[in-house]
Symmetry: C2
Subunit: 145 residues, 2 copies
DNA sequence: TCAACAGTTTAGAATTGTTATAATGTAGTT
DNA sequence: AACTACATTATAACAATTCTAAACTGTTGA
């Protein structure tokens, strides 16, 4: 979803009724320079902070899933205890900072294409994604515990 | 955890009291030729089928997490709606069959080492894992829906 | 050998994250 | 304006997981 202010038309174009809740959520999600990662909880907080409107939790879930189904959000699994969503819907790789629980997009050029030599017979590959778990390199960390 | 029958001593060695529940769970999990993937639900079923003992759900969770903490089980995130565990605790790659929801270990030789050219400053890389999502290659699948 | 203790198991309650329900509200159409 | 289909909402239901506290058991050492 491009970064313009006219989410009313965008929503209509993709077959979603542009209700004020949806428009507001689109503002929060897509009216920004860079893509980002969030949990439903993050999103609820962002909405209540940035908008003067209160949106029901059910609507947040509904809209997130509607946008996911339409291809404007992507669900990411890092920690099975939490659902992350990504406004960057392309196939791409991630760093996961285990210190901060932060999910960071890999730069396209920072990782060489993954070379798969043998696939499972009769199946086609839908996506190849790399997850790089990182943590502080501080040697002393454990000594002082 | 090696594939022998003496889980009593193994458990003691790693500092876990060898209760009969734990020994039985170890039998189910580790007394086999190949490593495998399971959900807590799978495991509960396997226990009730293979053992004549009923183990409380809380104990299954406790023991799985105890074994995970000791490094004999690894949690895998593919689908944020389900927790998978792996008796193969090494860093390794997976195919995920989206038709069957089956998780399959990548053969070491079937994928070339991932080349990361640039890391996050001040962080060390703990693991690099690739997830390859595959599905049926049947062209007609969608036409007949 | 066995009492005492610490660690473990257990059933059930509590919590969390998510989905379903059904009444009310609203956008789009006429 | 009225109609209708779709959307929102509060709340209930649900599933997965964790917590609780009482009962139980492996281990230790007197
Ligand atoms: Mn989803
Ligand atoms: Mn865990
Ligand atoms: Zn991303
Ligand atoms: Zn595996």
């Amino acid at each position: 979803m491009p970064k313009t202010f006219n989410f009313i038309e965008k929503l209509r174009e993709v077959g979603l009724r542009p209700t004020k809740q949806r428009v507001n959520m689109c503002e929060v999600l897509f009216n920004r320079e860079k893509t980002f990662h969030f949990t439903i909880n993050d999103l609820v907080k962002m909405i209540s902070e940035k908008m003067n409107q209160k949106i029901s939790l059910a609507t947040v879930y509904n809209t997130v899933h509607a946008l996911e189904k339409k291809g404007y959000l992507k669900e990411i699994s890092i920690d099975s205890h939490k659902s992350y969503f990504d406004t960057n819907t392309s196939v791409h790789h991630h760093f996961f900072d285990e210190d901060t629980n932060e999910l960071i997009d890999c730069d396209e050029n920072d990782i060489e294409p993954v070379n798969i030599k043998k696939n499972i017979t009769g199946k086609k590959i839908n996506s190849v994604e790399v997850l790089i778990k990182v943590a502080s390199d501080n040697q002393n960390q454990k000594k002082f515990k």
